[in-house]
């Protein structure tokens, strides 16, 4: 322990009126702290690039008609190596343009991770915070359900669900959401209970705030930190798990999704056709890496115990 001088300790006491300002300042500090970590910056840059690629996909490559999420297949130009005119990154076994897959795959991955993480965030937070806040029987029942869900390994569970539903991109999203919400419910519940028992909630209670008010104004806004870190990490993880499911054979045939492309392209690696799965594989790796880097940075920044920025 170093007794470093810290002027902020003597800052004006936090009062309710300035909650917004305090929060804004916290966000600002956090951003500054995150940006001071080169790994996090690299991660953020990759994420921005991926998002840009996803958003501007229709302008980067002409969308396939009628379905832009299908690989555009030129059956007369299968297995072209990278650098072939018109096919910068080569073509797949089916004559699909690998570059197209890489770009539109980013769009699919963005869609996948936003939909899955977004929905589990909402479901998990609602269930977890209610269980934690209300407690009692509801908590007991919900947590037993969560326990059961958590005792099935994540990938295996998702695999089973996706397998039962049949290979499609939507089913993979659904399976992932089914599996992942419990984690959020549990994290959220723990956090809510922790906050519920903190002094300032006691204070709010003594002041006579209504339960709903306490829940909405004091507990919820202050409980998101751990789930947000988890969500950031999971933005990467879902793409990884989805790719694994696709690899095992649950992907939708012919779509421009990285996992499917790796799965379909891996066969060619042995024959020297490394490009069809290398590029999409690299994208999966980068995507996961970026969110891991940022998630780690975020965790370090938010968790006062590991002040790794110093």
């Amino acid at each position: 322990m170093v007794d470093l001088p810290s002027p902020s300790r003597a800052a004006a006491p936090v009062v309710r009126d300035s909650a917004f300002r305090v929060r804004m300042r916290r966000v600002r500090d956090l951003t500054a702290q995150i940006l001071s970590n080169p790994a996090t910056v690299i991660g953020s840059v990759i994420i921005l690039a991926m998002f840009a690629m996803a958003i501007f996909a229709p302008w980067l490559t002409a969308p396939n008609t009628p379905d832009p999420y299908q690989m555009p297949r030129d059956w007369a130009a299968t297995r072209m190596p990278p650098g072939t005119p018109g096919y910068l990154l080569g073509t797949t076994n089916e004559g699909g343009d690998v570059l197209y897959g890489v770009i539109w795959g980013a769009r699919m991955s963005l869609q996948l991770s936003l939909v899955v993480v977004g929905s589990v965030l909402v479901i998990g937070c609602i269930i977890g915070s209610l269980a934690g806040f209300i407690g009692g029987k509801l908590d007991e029942i919900l947590m037993r359900i969560v326990d059961v869900f958590l005792s099935i390994p994540e990938l295996i569970f998702a695999l089973a669900i996706a397998a039962v539903l049949g290979p499609s991109f939507g089913n993979i999203m659904f399976a992932l959401a089914m599996v992942m919400w419990v984690k959020y419910a549990r994290i959220m519940r723990a956090r809510v209970i922790q906050i519920k028992n903190s002094e300032y909630i006691d204070a709010a209670r003594i002041i006579g705030d209504s339960k709903l008010n306490i829940y909405l104004r004091d507990i919820l806004p202050n409980s998101f930190t751990p789930v947000m870190v988890q969500a950031t990490l999971d933005m990467g993880n879902v793409v990884l798990i989805a790719a694994t499911l696709s690899f095992i054979g649950l992907g939708e045939a012919g779509i421009a999704e990285w996992g499917v492309l790796v799965s379909e392209g891996q066969a060619g690696i042995a024959s020297g056709r490394w490009w069809a799965s290398t590029f999409p594989g690299l994208m999966i790796f980068l995507w996961g890496l970026a969110f891991n880097l940022v998630g780690d940075g975020l965790r370090d920044a938010l968790d006062p115990r590991t002040e790794s920025s110093r």
Binding site: M1, D3, L4, P5, S6, P7, S36
Partner: protein, 440 residues
């Protein structure tokens, strides 16, 4: 003025100081610049005295205290300049450690300088006592001083004790590090022995034993000796605990820290610190984390042990009343600097730095009337690349332009009392501040 009455015979010019800090400066890099956490701090600790180091959180007193044991957080910290010298003691030659007049019944006296064997030479500044530069001592040598010659008591015994080791395990380590030969002796192994048993037990007695050693030592031929050694160790630990008036020390040995009360834990810390009868004890806010009633008892204990052993103590605290009760002298630190130092009675009777005055006014006493407790206005300044000025600028009720442009040096204002303030040392400046004149 140095007190020469305790001067041990045999040394040419025995110092009355056991350690002294000179111009200690420690910086910490931050995003906005260099934080001057400790800024040219100088003071000395006299043999056998208790020096109080007071100041508020973040003033650099802990960093200063830690510098004695090379426990400064470097990196990220940077030791910009300064020295910490230390004169270790050795067993008294006259009485072989049993205690005599020559060593003031402590059984120990300053160790002779190795280069002049006490005659006095350039190495020891003519003092004849061994002089060690603590800040630049190599790892293996500082290690032999830590816990043996200089020990430290930490602020929170709950944090400073390893939660997963028993009290006995943790206390044993001190003996294993510094009393290896005595332990081996108890097991019947002399310093000349070189056999397998001696080697294995030697490793055990200095914490260099591996799992194979443990296995071999648990087998019959070596087991007996090992047990003798472990028994001696256990007795040493229990004796150290008993010193701190812990009841049933043999039971405490097998307990884990969390099973003990805060006061008990601090007693364990003290026992650990005093186990090897150190010459200097750094007590870093040893009672802050404790209940008030326990505080008093721990304080008494430290005082008592200090009296009995004549150990010098650097007592770091933010609590002026505590310091007043226990210390012979007091150094007041503010924002990385010593602003006032002197005999306790003088400082408290005649606080001569505006900051010390402010502090004393901020302490409630029985005489303080309701509403009269004064707070010092403003906040501690940021110590990032500070300009040359008095650090109390901005909070000082008496500040003048001089204070903002120049750095006041610590200067003696009376016997055993030094202050760094232009009120006392204006050096002929025209606009010298004065206690009589309030600026705001």
């Amino acid at each position: 003025m140095l007190d020469m009455t305790n001067r041990p015979s045999g040394l040419a010019n025995s110092p009355a100081t056991i350690a002294s800090v000179r111009d200690l400066t420690v910086h910490f890099p931050s995003k906005r610049g260099m934080v001057h956490a400790v800024d040219r701090v100088s003071f000395e600790i006299r043999d056998g005295e208790t020096l109080g180091l007071v100041g508020e959180t973040g003033c650099g007193k802990s960093v200063t205290g830690r510098s004695f044991l090379q426990l400064l957080p470097i990196p990220p910290g940077i030791l910009a300049q300064g020295t910490v010298t230390f004169h270790p003691h050795a067993r008294c030659g006259a009485c072989a450690g049993t205690g005599c007049d020559a060593c003031n019944s402590t059984g120990r006296r300053p160790a002779a300088c190795p280069s002049c064997t006490g005659a006095g030479c350039a190495q020891c500044n003519g003092s004849g006592a061994e002089t060690v530069e603590l800040l630049r001592l190599p790892e293996d040598r500082i290690r032999r001083i830590r816990g043996d010659r200089i020990a430290m008591i930490f602020q929170d015994p709950g944090k400073a004790l390893n939660p997963t080791l028993t009290i006995g395990d943790q206390l044993s380590e001190v003996f294993l590090q510094h009393r290896t030969e005595e332990l081996l002796d108890a097991a019947g192994i002399g310093p000349e022995d070189r056999g397998l048993a001696a080697r294995l037990l030697g490793r055990l007695a200095s914490q260099r034993n591996g799992s194979i050693d443990n296995l071999l030592l648990s087998l019959p031929p070596l087991r007996g000796k090992r047990n003798l050694l472990l028994d001696a160790l256990r007795n040493n630990v229990a004796a150290a605990l008993a010193e701190t008036q812990i009841a049933n020390p043999y039971q405490i040995i097998d307990r884990y820290p969390h099973e003990l009360s805060g006061g008990m834990r601090q007693r364990v810390m003290i026992a650990q610190a005093l186990a090897c009868n150190p010459d200097l004890l750094i007590a870093d806010e040893p009672t802050t984390a404790l209940d008030v009633t326990v505080q008093a008892r721990i304080l008494e204990l430290i005082k008592d042990l200090q009296k009995r052993r004549q150990t010098s103590v650097l007592y770091i605290s933010h609590d002026l009343s505590l310091v007043r009760r226990i210390c012979d002298r007091v150094a007041v630190m503010y924002a990385g600097r010593v602003v006032e130092i002197g005999r306790t009675d003088r400082i408290f009777r005649n606080p001569s730095h505006p900051y010390t005055r402010g502090l004393l006014h901020a302490v409630p006493t029985a005489a303080t009337k309701r509403g009269q407790l004064m707070a010092i206005k403003g906040t501690v300044p940021e110590l990032v690349d500070p300009p040359p000025s008095c650090r109390f600028v901005g909070r000082c009720p008496h500040e003048k332009a001089l204070c903002r442009s120049k750095n006041p040096e610590l200067a003696q204002i009376s016997d055993e009392h030094s202050v760094s303030c232009f009120i006392h040392d204006a050096a002929g400046a025209a606009d010298a501040p004065s206690f009589d004149e309030k600026t705001q």
